[in-house]
């Protein structure tokens, strides 16, 4: 065993941690040094994470004991299995892209060494949450990630709104941190253990007690809050909207560490001692609520980053739905083989897809804000004429989030629809409806930001480092889109079998090409789609060539008319009014839902506590 084989797991966490602690010293020496230290450290830890991933896929779970060559469950351990390394890979890609993107994005701000130190600490927190093997370290890393994110939300300190958002986020994360600690106290009091596998084994002996169920209710609520699930989502749009754009992309990945902790608690710790159907249904209900309320609230937003933040909530719903269905049928091997495994595959595959396309979308939004100086959709138009690369990458991200073929978002949603339909058709129909509304709201963003007359002041393309950061995400999206079957087999399946040990994984992709997915009822092949798309395009251009040859763009047709009058730039329908008909028709739904988003921290905490009470009651008494 080489040095890196043995210590790879801890070095992944330690390298950014060490760089974060060096940062204040280095920031004194030079203004430019922090950005290079951050990018270098994150590149190194990303490389270590990828190396660790290959090692885990080749030789199975890695257990690393801190402080000693031999391990027992009483020591602090890192346990790296398929699910943990899946999340660490996401963090590896996102953190590196964000560090590069931030070079230009925060160039105009003071306190850069603090920014980069906190960025590194968020990465440390997320790596730690997904790689650790005991509950107390999960809590410690949860706090590291929450507190650093809180500081980063308040980074643009010339704005009062940033402090308000940071305060609300801090309230949520402090309350949830205390609840985790309480749950850990329950474990420690009963079993004298903090080790996840140890607690799970102890529960397997006697079954889970009433106290265990209370701990489960607390942990489930808190981690669902971290993931940004409705109705604990209230701070998410504020925090996402106010954080610098790069941090928002990191925020998405850090929230998914909460999702990971939720799945880990349910599957690894509790499934040995109790029936998980109830918690599965809790996840399904939270997921459906998140999907629907998230997307409908997104439709009415006119701030580009708040709109995307509501979509982040909505997309989290898909993951909760997919994995929740898997959890609900976990006890029944027949149903599990029929659709449970596929639902989990879809849900988990959606995690990496979401981190990539949502990260990309937030970065494009940041590029627009960087050049325009505003995040209000009503004040933007015609950016597509000068920001061509940003526009192209925005289209890629928007297609992926709306789940249009041939993108990666389609692959994972396809699997979720097909498997959830067999579980309960209504859930699948809601999921599809949400997907349509997602497309609608991104059409709105594209229309209002990129189309229309040129902006009044000249706008340049985004700076090179920002384009590079977006390019990393785009490249990963293209790879995920072209080889979904291969990715599911190599990356997602180990994660599923880490959560449900011993489950039978029938291959989802077929033999003839790795990019074809075959579920029970249908199949999805990127090659077939691209072939059909190209042939339709050829037919369309043939029809076009039969038309009037004398037509040129500059003659007359270029001017838009409306009711017989020339349309001027000012008469253009602004972003906020695109769907006024839909919003008017849905007024009775929107009135109470909008009224609940009061912006008052007290109400937000009340929602968190009410949800916690409901989930506790459901988990303990059902």
């Amino acid at each position: 065993m080489s040095f890196l084989d043995t210590h790879g797991a801890i070095l992944t966490i330690i390298v950014p941690l060490f760089a974060a602690f060096l940062m204040p010293l280095l920031g004194k020496l030079s203004q430019k040094a922090p950005r290079f230290l951050a990018a270098g450290a994150l590149a190194l830890s990303s490389a270590l994470a990828i190396r660790l991933a290959i090692q885990v896929w080749d030789s199975g779970t890695i257990v690393y004991t801190l402080g000693s060559a031999t391990g027992t469950i009483f020591r602090i351990q890192l346990i790296v299995d398929g699910m943990g390394i899946f999340m660490a890979l996401i963090m590896a890609i996102v953190s590196l892209a964000v560090a590069i993107y931030s070079w230009s994005n925060i160039d105009r701000y003071t306190g850069q060494e603090k920014y980069y130190a906190l960025l590194l600490l968020v990465t440390v927190g997320s790596y730690g949450m997904v790689l650790t093997g005991d509950m107390f370290n999960l809590f410690v890393f949860f706090e590291i990630s929450s507190i650093s994110l809180c500081g980063l939300v308040a980074f643009r300190s010339q704005r009062g709104e940033s402090f308000e958002a940071a305060f609300k986020y801090m309230l949520y994360s402090t309350i949830s941190g205390v609840m985790i600690l309480f749950a850990i106290g329950i474990f420690y009091g009963q079993y004298g253990l903090l080790h996840m596998v140890g607690i799970s084994n102890a529960m397997a002996v006697n079954g889970s007690t009433m106290l265990d169920k209370i701990a489960l209710g607390l942990l489930a609520t808190v981690f669902a809050m971290k993931a940004g699930s409705v109705p604990m989502h209230m701070t998410t749009p504020d925090a996402y909207g106010e954080a610098p754009a790069g941090i928002t992309a990191l925020f998405v990945a850090a929230s998914q560490a909460g999702l990971y902790a939720l799945f880990r608690t349910g599957f690894t710790i509790y499934s040995s001692g109790m029936n998980m159907t109830t918690l599965g249904w809790v996840l399904i209900v939270l997921g459906v609520l998140s999907m629907f309320i998230g997307v409908t609230m997104a439709l009415v937003q006119s701030d580009i980053k708040r709109l995307m933040a509501y979509h982040a909530i909505s997309q989290t719903g898909y993951m909760l739905l997919g994995v929740g269905v898997g959890m609900a049928v976990m006890a029944d091997p027949v149903l599990m083989a029929q659709y449970g495994v596929d639902a989990m595959r879809g849900g988990i595959f959606h995690i990496i897809n979401h981190a990539m396309y949502k990260g990309l979308l937030f970065l494009t939004a940041g590029a627009i804000i960087h050049r325009m100086g505003t995040s209000d959709l009503n004040e933007m138009h015609g950016l597509g004429r000068n920001m061509k690369w940003t526009a192209i990458m925005f289209i890629l991200g928007a297609l992926a989030i709306a789940g249009l073929p041939p993108t990666n978002g389609f692959s994972s949603k396809f699997i979720i629809y097909e498997s959830v339909y067999q579980f309960n058709p209504i859930l699948a129909v809601i999921a599809m409806l949400v997907s349509i509304l997602t497309l609608a709201s991104f059409v709105k963003v594209f229309y209002s930001a990129f189309l229309g007359p040129r902006p009044s002041k000249p706008v340049k393309e985004a700076p090179a480092s920002m384009l590079l950061g977006m390019g990393i995400f785009s490249a990963v999206i293209v790879i995920l889109s072209l080889f979904p079957g291969f990715i599911i087999e190599k990356i997602v399946d180990p994660a599923v079998s880490a959560l449900v040990p011993g489950v039978e994984l029938t291959p989802l992709s077929s033999g003839f090409f790795p990019s074809t997915i075959i579920t029970g009822d249908g199949f999805w092949s990127v090659l077939v789609f691209i072939g059909a798309f190209v042939s339709i395009m050829i037919i369309a251009s043939l029809i076009r060539s039969m038309g009037n040859k004398g037509f040129t763009k500059r003659k007359g047709m270029g001017q838009p008319y409306y009711f017989g009058n020339r349309v001027t730039a000012s008469a253009r329908v602004s972003g906020g009014n695109v769907y006024w008909g839909f919003l008017k028709a849905m007024e009775r739904y929107y009135k109470p839902v909008k009224a609940e988003h009061t912006g008052d921290a007290n109400d937000y905490v009340a929602w968190l506590l009410i949800t916690m009470a409901v989930i506790l009651a459901v988990v303990v008494f059902l």
Binding site: I10, I14, Y64, Y109, Q158
Partner: protein
Amino acid sequence: MRPMSKIVQAMACLLYPSIIVFGAYLIVHGHLTPGGGFQGGAVAASAIALMIVAYGSKKYNKTRLSALESTGLVMFISLGLLGLGVAFFHNFLANTGGIFGELVEYGTNLGNLNTAGTIPLMNIAVGLEVVGALGLMMVILAKGPEKGGRV
């Protein structure tokens, strides 16, 4: 904060070294008696609080306190990294006979400072970090908010 009277300043100067010494005592004896890096660091930082009260907040330099904090943190992680021959945070100094490396005696005794390997060194690192961090917090609180944001 504004400086206080000569009497307060003189008394603060008298108390300052004894507080620092007591803080250092708690830090270094962390592995033998109640106390340790955090507690001793907090005591030592109270000396900084006393000085801010007596002399006003202008005298303190945030850069040095911040550097002290970073040094403590880097030292702590470095001690962990030095154990990587076996595992991260491995106590490579314990029972080797070198610095802090003597064997612990059995039975009731007064305690030997020169034991426990890396633990006292880590206490010192944490102590430096806590003095820097708490001192920095107090200086910032005393000075009030500063202008941030765009260059």
